[in-house]
């Protein structure tokens, strides 16, 4: 016998009542013993147990018996409770062991996705991206850069020719693999100072400010070899895919696109992205070292340039902790290059 309240068929009207299972019937009666409703137990739908919420027994005629007595209802269902509406879910949610396993599993899955899943997906998508799409992305990106951050180059013809011949030397040494690399000259605006960057279609942009810093030919060769590494590994495309896959994956798994989850994902998203970016830089550095060695150039020259670059950018101190930056810290990059003879 369980107590609760009874709702008349399809009505919000309610009276205090008690329910009892007799043989195969469910009998609901008022406290004075008057019969309110009766139905074969097999036709009654029982809502699944969930935390300590009241349970509802839905009768086929639209009537409903509601009770806070969850254990009473479970006892009434007896052996059938495995079968009726997700009773197993409640037992899993109630078990500490399942909760702990779930935390570990969610954390492990999240970490595995971040470390292997997402980079793998971005890599295979980048590898199967058609050339015309890469070209159109590059064209669009270059337009945006030209409009907002870059100015026309001030270098004279001789300076440009010298850089171009060094560039061609690296390409001839196989620096660009089977890709088609071209060199573009620009002057950096206020937000882009001494810098060089690669676009997905093999265009490599060199700013005047970086050229001004260069003291030896093999420094510039190092810069080109590094950027060609980004082209060969399709890092720019991988970045695009990483940036769009991360929020999509979170939305698919959690089914939640609310404000809280969007804001909460923002900062970790930036940190994860910069970690990926540091991985790319490291890969491009290693690639550049191999190329330079093949050309019998000095990888250490690249280290000299990097240190000079850091001094102009960040003064005497360093640029800040490496775990937020999108490049590994200069000291360890320089060490890698100097060790590579």
């Amino acid at each position: 016998m369980i107590t609760g309240r009874y709702f008349f068929p399809n009505s919000a009207r309610t009276v205090a009542a008690r329910a009892e299972k007799t043989a195969s019937q469910l009998r609901i009666e008022a406290f004075d013993g008057a019969l309110l409703a009766e139905a074969p137990f097999a036709t009654v739908k029982i809502t699944a147990r969930l935390a300590s919420l009241p349970r509802r027994l839905l009768l086929p005629d639209g009537g409903c018996f509601e009770t806070p007595d969850n254990d009473g209802v479970d006892a009434m269902i007896g052996m059938a409770r495995h079968l009726i509406g997700g009773g197993w879910m409640d037992r899993v949610e109630r078990s500490w062991r399942a909760v702990v396993i779930s935390i570990v599993l969610a954390a492990a899955a999240g970490a595995a996705f971040g470390i292997w899943g997402l980079p793998w997906a971005a890599r295979s998508l980048a590898a199967s991206t058609p050339e015309w799409l890469a070209n159109s992305i590059s064209e669009h990106a270059l337009q945006t850069f030209d409009k907002n951050y870059l100015l026309a180059s001030h270098l004279d013809g001789a300076q440009q020719q010298r850089a171009q011949s060094l560039f061609d030397r690296v390409v001839t040494a196989g620096g660009c693999g089977t890709h088609h690399c071209t060199l573009l000259f620009r002057r950096g605006g206020i937000l882009i100072q001494a810098n060089a960057f690669a676009l997905p279609d093999g265009e490599i942009v060199l700013t005047d400010q970086l050229t001004d810093l260069v003291k030896a030919d093999d420094e510039l060769e190092g810069v080109f070899a590094h950027e060609m590494g980004h082209v060969v590994y399709a890092h720019a495309l991988q970045r695009v895919y990483q940036a769009s896959l991360l929020p999509a994956a979170i939305a698919v798994v959690t089914g939640d696109v609310s404000q809280v989850s969007q804001i909460a994902v923002l900062l970790p998203g930036i940190l994860i992205q910069s970690a990926y970016s540091r991985g790319f830089e490291n890969q491009a550095d290693l690639y550049a070292i191999t190329t330079l060695r093949r050309m019998r150039a000095r990888p250490a020259a690249m280290a000299d340039l990097l240190e000079r670059l850091e001094k102009t950018h960040c003064g005497a101190g360093s640029c800040g902790p490496s775990w937020i930056g999108d490049h590994p810290d200069t000291a360890s990059r320089a060490k890698l290059m100097r060790g590579a003879h």
Binding site: L105, Q193, V253, G255, I263
Partner: protein, 349 residues
């Protein structure tokens, strides 16, 4: 008409963070194992928990959707999205077709989602319902926002009012309708406040930036670089905090306005008295705590926001509540229910 003998029935929220945490983490793990498929059923359990923990006048709400239908809705939505993405990549002229189709499909998707949620929500054994013509959704969700946009935001509050009217006035419970009615100037006031806040925010940013100008001018290259780093920090961090604050501020003011202007069955009234600043603080601190705890705080965050909102919502019932509800009946016929729910899915809109 509203009468003076109305009794106040405050909403209560009985959910607890610790209790929801177990439900959330177990469902999250199951969703991961099943590559997202289980998340449809997880959503049902979550909605049931939140509806079931919401009480007013001694009764709670319930949610009846089947995870299976939510899954179908998601598959349809995902297919549409994928079709759109693929045509962007492989055949650009097709995008125009998609835009035109979208103009007509989106209103249907919106109506379908709202109706799905209404029909699957019940209170005291009687379900809510939502009935609107596709055209109304088209006007509320496509035409008015375009008008608002084309008038440089001047008519945006009016568009917001139309959208809220569409949502509230097409909802019914036991065949009795909700009706929202408020002066559009009150919506203009909210947007004016939001604009004022954004201006204050910009002024503060400029005030911080002006002292940096000499630094940029005098220190040459290094100065520019240093200023660049500072600029990044000064702009990005407060920008996100301010945007994180302003959005819930506006949202809360709108919810207060619309809820308090809503009358049910011409005699019962709703009221919402949330403090916009408190709600904005809850949202921002929830997001920060969720980040710091690597997501573990998320269930407490959701419970905290729901509790604050519901504990500041009141239902004023005119006359005797019990004798009134005795007259409320389920008006959806079983057949209508089947057809209606066959054509409605939850698209998560």
């Amino acid at each position: 008409m509203l009468q003076d003998d109305a009794t106040a029935h405050p909403f209560e929220f009985h959910g607890r963070g610790g209790e929801y945490f177990r439900i959330w983490i177990v469902n999250l793990a199951l969703s991961i194992i099943t590559l997202g498929i289980f998340s449809a059923w997880a959503k049902v359990r979550t909605k049931r928990y939140f509806n079931g923990s919401t009480f007013v006048a001694g009764h709670n709400f319930d949610y009846h959707a089947s995870g299976y239908r939510i899954l179908i809705g998601r598959v349809i939505a995902l297919t549409l999205l994928l079709g759109y993405q693929l045509s962007v990549v492989f055949f650009k002229p097709l995008v125009l077709v998609w835009v035109i189709v979208g103009l007509f499909v989106v209103p249907w998707l919106i109506i379908s989602s709202i109706r799905f949620n209404a029909r699957n929500t019940s209170y005291r054994n009687v379900r809510f319902n939502f009935s609107a013509a596709d055209m109304e959704a088209f006007v509320a969700y496509i035409v008015w926002p375009i008008v608002g946009f084309c008038t440089f935001g001047l008519l945006w509050p009016l568009a917001q009012q139309k959208k809220d009217y569409f949502y509230v006035n097409n909802h019914n419970y036991g065949g009795r309708y909700f009706e929202a009615n408020f002066s559009v100037w009150r919506m203009y006031t909210i947007f004016a406040i939001a604009l004022g806040l954004m201006i204050v925010f910009l002024v503060v940013i400029v005030a911080i930036l002006v002292p940096l100008v000499p630094l940029i001018l005098h220190k040459g290259n290094a100065g520019v670089a240093a200023a660049g780093h500072l600029l990044g920090l000064i702009f990005v961090v407060p920008f996100y905090i301010a945007m994180g604050m302003i959005a819930p501020l506006i949202h809360t003011m709108i919810v207060n306005l619309v809820t308090s202007a809503t009358v049910f069955d011409e005699k019962h009234r709703l009221q919402s008295t949330m403090s916009p600043f408190m709600m904005a603080w809850i949202m921002v601190s929830n997001a920060l705590l969720t980040i710091i705890t690597l997501g573990l705080f998320y269930p407490w965050a959701k419970v905290r926001a729901a509790r604050y909102q519901l504990e500041h919502t009141t239902l004023f019932i005119t006359g005797d509540a019990e004798s009134y509800v005795s007259e409320v009946f389920e008006t959806q016929s079983a057949v209508g229910e089947e057809i209606g729910s066959f054509f409605s899915f939850d698209f998560g809109l």
